[in-house]
Amino acid sequence: ALSVETFNYATYHTLNEIYDFMDLLVAERPNLVSKIEIGYSTEGLPLNVLKFSTGGPNRPAIWIDTGIHSREWVTQATGVWFAKKIISDYGKDESLTAILDKMDIFLEIITNPDGFVFTHTQNRMWRKTRSINAGSSCRGVDPNRNWDAGFGGLGSSRNPCSETYHGPHANSEPEVKAIVDFVKQHGNIKAFISIHSYSQLLLYPYGYTKTPVPDQKELDSIATAAVTALSSLYGTSYRYGSIITTIYQASGGTIDWTYNQGIKYSFTFELRDAGRYGFMLPANQIIPTAQETWKALMVIMEHARDHPY
């Protein structure tokens, strides 16, 4: 693509195409967007994060990541659309402008680049990272079981051949460790939203324990409002609640760790499921999925903006 305007948002793209898109975005809107490299993947690919900021040091921030499970392609595609949406709406949409005048937004579109490349080149069904597991011929760790929150507990597997293998120790995956280091170093992230697909869910902590989070009531009311906003566009129905009560016990998950770090507004999405394709969602669903998800995201971001803590 020659510009972010001519970039085709309605198709799936390779890693290089998406990384080029990120560079285009930065080149076109350098006063609003910058690119930060927070680390490298197992196979040496850069872990790029877009920073949307209108200035000011260490502002309160919102983190959004997409595609930690590499095969869920609509997730990364949605992340690309979000990036464009943020630059298009800033200065035009009153609410987003107010968010960016007060807070920064960090967006990691390709959270698991090794896995993403692997889905394009070798195995479309690949979900995990591509790390080598000592003593096993099976590769990869589930990066959504690798966080230091109930690590190794029920709802994760100790078998390296399993899709939910938790890894040898918490933060063993550089893709996870990079985010952990970034979040700790930043110290002022107020909302953390990790996006997956598919099954139409909006979830909050915990996944590793049935003990409700102290902020359950507030998180539940945000989820109610977010899902209502999302459904208002195309009628897509979502379920919401804590991970363990809504789907199943899952230990070592992303938002359990972020919540325990003190990031109150920690949520995870499972995006649209057309009911016929699972995560092989046809490309013509990308834009509607992104549009409806954006509505829910705005509810969460507005709440974080208006309820500082």
């Binding site: 309605a10 198709t11 080149t121 479309r124 939910t164 099954s199 016929r276 046809p282």
Partner: protein, 94 residues
């Protein structure tokens, strides 16, 4: 490159907790090389499983023996992968 010719994705609906347990049992049968896209949790939440061609018969027999309902969500996964790839190529050339 891994190919998925003849692989099917089954959407499986469980009627009760006992059937959820049966599905968890199926999940542990490593020799079938099943890929759970959505794992068993509650009876009201269906499970999606990618089943390689060589395991199709065994899985369908297991489900039928346990009165667990299913339908074929994706009949031939490789066809879908090929369509997706072709579409990306088309879009790129445009």
């Amino acid at each position: 490159t891994e190919v998925f010719v003849g692989h099917q994705v089954l959407r499986i609906s469980m009627a009760n907790e006992a059937q959820v347990e049966k599905m968890r049992e199926l999940e542990t049968m490593d020799h079938l090389q099943l890929d759970f896209w959505a794992s068993p949790s509650h009876p009201e939440r269906p499970v999606d499983v990618r089943v390689p061609f060589t395991s199709l018969q065994a899985v369908k027999v297991f489900l039928e023996q346990n009165n667990i309902q299913y339908f074929i969500l994706i009949k031939d996964l490789q066809r879908l992968v090929d369509d997706e790839k072709a579409q990306m190529v088309r879009q790129r050339s445009r």
